[in-house]
Amino acid sequence: MLSQVHSNKLFALAGSLALFSMIAAIEAQPPTQPPAGAVAGRGGRGGRGARGPRFKIYPEDAINRGLPAYNSTCGYCHGERGKGGKAGPDLIASLVTLHDEDGVQFAEFVRGPQHSKVVKIDASDSQIADIAAYLHSRVIYASGRGQVHVSEVLVGDSKAGEQYFNGAGGCNKCHSPGSDLKGVGAKYDPPTLQERLVMPRSGRGGSGRGAATLTLPSGETIKGTSLLLTDFYVTLRLADGSTKTWARSHGVPKVEVTDPLQAHIDIMTRLSDIDMHNLTAYLATLK
């Protein structure tokens, strides 16, 4: 249960939340729930992720029942997907929603004097619980990063992309639409195509991994795959599958690493958005 202090604060804030002046044209987005706490990681702030789930996950069937119940009961005032409407505030940033568990606090507020004097809601406990489950799923969605609009990534000119592929981009030096890229447009969706044409591997481009040639002070050279390169040691995987580490000091032994994706690193630094979108459009035609 909420404390009296919390309830007062909550009622006051719920009442004072700004009303949006219009119901915006809202594009359909699936109300999927990302895993709770799955918001750390890249772009995070040096933390370790959530300490326990931050949001209660409600059953999918309750959410699915809650959507139509919300639309018929609440949507007129609070807008599509709870984001606020002509007559009612945003229910996603609402303290009522955020402090609710299983629809209990939600029902208390909806049936309470503040809401009832504006609109009297005639809904059962289970209907309110379903609506709350739906709104909680919207909170989780808002706290995540959303999903790329897959169907709106193909904005480029495929012909111009083909020209870039065979011309300024120099992609045809390593790739061919008839061999390694055959069917690539069917294999990957547009954002994945776009992501992979920029850099086929995720993560770091300069970590010292790749084909390495090590030159000992004697002049002897050893070839392998660099697994780790620091100022103090280098570890190579050798042709026979074994790994070997050499101590290093002041750059000796010398190690030269060739990244097989160096061409992608180079293009990443000079690719314009127009060329990137054109290339994506071209690759999407390679079905």
Partner: protein, 538 residues
């Protein structure tokens, strides 16, 4: 009235403090003793510079391990908080700068404070907070006022502990965890003010800094980092609703100039994070440094590093304070290497720009630098529905791990990354919520430790590493302590970046290294995940 001169008041205040038998009188923060490390930054300036030089570039190769301590997260007898019983699960991952007072180190995890004997590495006491589910960012450490420690729990309580026993004195809720506020910053004690702050940028909350009374925890002043109605910055937002959901997290320890009596707070990014259509305008005071009077909370000036930020580039990096002669004139300066890849030098008396220059290559998100030193953003490089290939990525050219400034070399040291990513806007609604965008693909071209000449912004030296942003410490011994990101704790020559000494740790250094004198020996202390390592000459 003449008798109430500031000098006399100061003298009285000093006497009162001495009579109170303090562990750490506030004067000891203004002028730290060699056997102490009294704030996250070691002093108020944020330089992470120590005048100690027993360990120096000529002899650092003799440095050896004094002790190592694996930090235990198992709760002890001091337990507080409203949540369920604490579990022993969880492995420490130390992101704080330990504070050192009277031979005792104080370190934190998001729900734990530990006192550790600086001579042996053994735990003296522990305090565990039973919190509610929240985003558990690494904690930056405690603040100390006299006999009291101050700690921000990850779920937004300010806890005061007895420095000798770790027993809780009181705790105060600062922000509602249900709104997804979270806390990570180390409180900064200035005179009789405990400066605290909260963050949160998942559900579009307005963030703030506060001064709290060290005795009672009561709020002395409250500063919204999104300019509320009545503030001149309000006009940089389209409406009240945008301000009240505008972000601006206070995630990072502030710095302070006692002579100017100005507190410098770096603020977080605007919300919704990656979609700016509901908050057209500069969105002050997000992604900025704000200079406040710590006695009143009144803002004296501000400078915004990334106006109308849509790339998640908070300004949660150290605003380092130092003095230097520029064009023949002595200047009081503030420098910050911002996550966006730009290095800013400001006059810290008034916030006017002295210098703006990129500190990594490849930045493509701005069109140029305006006469006032601010970047001119390129709207086409904001997150787009079809994707925008942008440098740097949201992690940025550097991050929260602290840079350092050495007055002997005149160099500003910072861990850097040249990175690219494709930013997508995922929420095209007129009123987007939360992150509203994402990034996919890309990668880094290189990661380097770099030294910036503060007078020109030019790179004086750079050294390849396997890590970008990293926490640094520099000393009068011409040393720069840092990491290669592959498990090694390294002493570099601060003058040229040459590695002079290293120690392979169980995992890479994870916090701000510190240094201090104890029993006539200089120590260097660093954490690598769950382990604390102390080095000295034997």
């Amino acid at each position: 009235m003449k008798s109430k001169s500031p000098a006399l008041l100061t003298a009285f205040a000093g006497l009162a403090m001495a009579a109170w038998s303090q562990q750490l009188p506030s004067e000891a923060i203004v002028h730290p003793k060699p056997d102490s490390w009294p704030t996250f930054h070691g002093d108020y300036s944020g330089r992470h510079y120590s005048p100690l030089k027993e360990i120096n570039a000529e002899n650092v190769h003799n440095l050896t391990l004094a002790w190592v301590n694996q930090i235990s997260m198992t709760p002890g007898e001091n337990i507080g908080g409203p949540g369920p019983a604490p579990s022993s699960s969880g492995i420490a991952n130390t992101r704080c700068a330990p504070l050192l007072v009277d031979g005792v180190l104080y370190i934190t995890e998001p729900n734990t404070v530990l006192a550790i004997d600086a001579r042996t590495g053994r735990e003296i006491w522990k305090y565990t907070w039973k919190g509610l589910p929240a985003f558990a960012l690494g904690n930056r450490g405690v603040g100390i006022y006299g006999d009291w420690l101050f700690f921000e729990t990850y779920d937004n309580h300010l806890v005061s502990l007895d420095i000798k026993t770790g027993k809780e004195r009181w705790n105060k809720e600062m922000a509602d965890v249900k709104r997804d506020y979270f806390s990570s910053v180390s409180p900064l004690v200035i005179k009789n003010h405990v400066i605290v702050g909260v963050g949160g940028d998942f559900l579009d909350v307005p963030n703030f800094a506060e001064a709290r009374d060290p005795e009672t925890g009561a709020v002395q002043w409250h500063f919204w980092t999104t300019a509320h109605e009545g503030d001149p910055g309000f006009k940089t937002w389209p409406n009240k609703n945008a301000v009240e959901h505008g972000g601006g997290g206070v995630w990072y320890p502030s710095t302070y100039d006692p002579e100017l009596n100005l507190l410098y707070i770096p603020t977080g990014n605007a919300n919704p994070v990656m979609a700016g259509q509901s908050r057209e305008g500069d969105d002050l005071y997000t992604a900025s440094v704000v200079a406040l009077n710590p006695d009143t909370g009144k803002m004296v000036w501000h400078f915004q590093y990334s106006p109308h930020d849509t790339h998640d580039w908070d300004a949660a990096q150290t605003p380092i304070l130092f003095d230097a002669t520029i064009d023949g004139k002595p200047r009081k300066l503030l420098a910050q290497a911002h996550r966006s890849g730009l290095f800013f030098v400001l006059d810290r008396t008034d916030g006017k720009s002295v210098l703006t220059a990129p500190f990594v290559e490849g930045l493509n998100w701005y069109k140029g630098i305006a006469p006032n030193g601010q970047p001119i953003r390129d709207p086409l490089k904001e997150p787009q529905v079809a994707g925008a290939l942008t440098s740097p990525n949201s992690s940025g050219s550097t991050g929260w791990p602290n840079p350092a400034y050495n007055p002997d070399t005149g160099l500003f040291y910072v861990g850097t990354t040249q990175s690219y990513t494709i930013f997508y806007k995922t929420d095209t609604d007129a009123q987007p919520e939360g992150y509203s965008g994402t990034e996919r693909g890309g990668g880094s071209v290189k990661t380097e430790l770099r030294a910036i000449d503060v007078k020109t912004g030019k790179i004086a030296w750079k050294h390849a590493t396997n890590i970008g942003a990293q926490s640094l410490l520099t000393t009068a011994g011409n040393l720069l302590f840092g990491s290669d990101g592959s498990g090694n704790f390294i002493a570099f020559d601060a003058r040229n970046g040459e590695p002079l000494w290293h120690a392979g740790l169980k995992s890479s250094p994870s916090n701000a290294p510190i240094t201090y004198m104890l029993d006539g020996h200089q120590y260097v202390l660093v954490a690598g995940g769950e382990n604390l390592y102390a080095f000295r000459f034997q």
